[in-house]
Amino acid sequence: MMNRVEILKKSAINAVIGILLTFPITVIKVNTIDQEITWRWYMMGLVGAVVLIISFFWIRQQERQNSGSTFKFNESKLGLKYHSIMSKPGVTKSVLGSAVLLIVLIPFITTPYTTSIITSALIYIILGLGLNIVVGLGGLLNLGYAAFFGVGAYTYAILNMNFGVGFWLALPLGGIASALFGAIVGLPVLRLKGDYLAIVTLGFGEMTRIFTENSDKLTRGASGIANIPKPTFFGHAFGYFGSTRYIYLIAVALVIIIIFIVWRMENSRVGRSWVAMREDDIACESMGIDLTQSKMTLFIISSAIAGVAGVLFAAKNTFINPQSFTVWESIMILCIVVLGGKGSVRGVILGALILILLPEYLRAFQQYRMLIFGFLLIVMMVFRPGGIIQNVRKIYKIEGEPTNE
């Protein structure tokens, strides 16, 4: 194991390499219009310092991981304390209870702005949970998830525009439409593996967006659909503040329902077959699991969830256009899943909260948002491929004497 000085030395070398590597982009700025060149020499220092710091921690972390002495929350002092508190009878219940109470109270004690952005985050939690089924549980990479989201949103918008269908009817319809779309996409997709699957889903995502942009009659093209009504409560429409709260509560309810569904799925026969498929599809098939059927259910359920999220999105924003459903949107949802923790519900929630709320509250950070997210994706993959909250596989222990039943 290297000591600090050695790491520092190595980092210094990396910093020099970093300065050299980024020299043309960071130091020289060419203004091709006035034919002027600005030399920003201070950038060299800045880049050097940033690379030095990052490199130091990077190498140290690598060393630690190689020697196996990484920080494990569950074994740390804090973790042990956490577990000892949580294992006391009644504590889990009361913590959960107060958390739910707080969540429900948020719209009544904060500003509509806070409520509105938390609702956004909740929509992304739903999307993350949906994509998590495909990516986290099934191990299939879907790079066109935003399209399913879009199908849901447009289902509500179009049905409402033409037939005056309300939110509550559109909610299941959006889910169904998206599920149907998922089934159609699933047919060719299911034959493909790994990287091919990724590019084809990306293709479907783009095709859907191009189609939406071009069919003026159906989707009003790039202009988008405005004036999508907010949900009503048994025919009663709320004012602006009321409906912001109302949508928030609907979103919370949907998140809870979907968490429940996902949790039930995970522990069902189908759910286990997904995980088996992710781990080894050949072994899985030889165990008598129908891969095609299993992938199909995976895809359809995940699409349906995106569809529901889409309806909610359309109702919240009251305006949608194809720009909300691009590849980058799909990548954003993927980031949520990967950052939080593939396969873990808590991880997805955390991921969505970080990725949606952080830039909203740190406006100065907005400019650097995508840069940092890109970097975070790399760091996560290198050091913690399982995400912030890693999914712990259930281990079944059989204690005591096995009995014959």
């Binding site: 043309p24 060419v30 790994g194 084809v200």
Partner: protein
Amino acid sequence: MDVGYFLKLLLSGLTRGSIYALIALGYTMVYGIIKLINFAHGELYMLGAFTGLIVASLMSYSGINPVLSLIVATIIAIIYSSAYGVAIEKIAYKPLRKSQRLSALISAIGVSMFLQNFVLLFQTSDFLSFPNLIPTFKFLKPVENYLSSAQVLIYICTALFLIGFTILVKFTKTGKAMRATSQDSKMAQLLGISINKVISFTFLIGSAAAAIGGVLISSQVGQINFYIGFIVGIKAFVAAVLGGIGSLAGAVLGSFVLGLVESFGTGYISSNYEDLFAFVVLIVILTFKPAGLLGKSEKQKV
């Protein structure tokens, strides 16, 4: 049917195809060795274009003649793109060689996002005009309406890369090492092949191809911004998959198929659905030939 119109569309399709091919070759080269979709390959093309623009502007403002500045700009662009390529591999892909392929792909997406925004923040979000560095070839005078010098250079480079890479892979010692690494990296290592070097070398030449593409194509198009790599990268990626990813000839064939489909689609149907045609062809071909046009379907061993 108007034959002249058909021929013009054919030429447009070939032009596009050659542009895609120049980038797709690098894509497929990297994939062939480490089975990784280097999602950031388009970004290397963009970095090459930016470096080329910066160097060329520096030189032209100080009055150096365009041909010399084209050569110097291209060389520096190649050096930088290759250095970025090798650095990316070391930072973002090497630690992931043993993990799931999905992890490496996500890491590659991260690299792509990072590099795009890196250029956006440190350079500009605006479009910059790219100087026309390529001299007009006199012998092209009679056909100048159909073929520009940049296009001719793009064709030549594509052909050179295809031939060069094929010779490299098939007939040289390094090529043998590359193929060995591709087939079984553990075994290759046991036989004394330094797979780290082989992989770094692959990234180096793949990125160099992207950089040349960046300078040539940007000269042809006349403008660049931070996003050009992503758009062209996706198309080249589709082309490489279409042709059978990992196969050099496949990448070129796929690129031309894609270019022609887009061109004829635009010419005879509507340009509205240009990208749609590209993806439809991709899905249709993959449905019937899951490994692409020239790709070998791998038998999975248990």
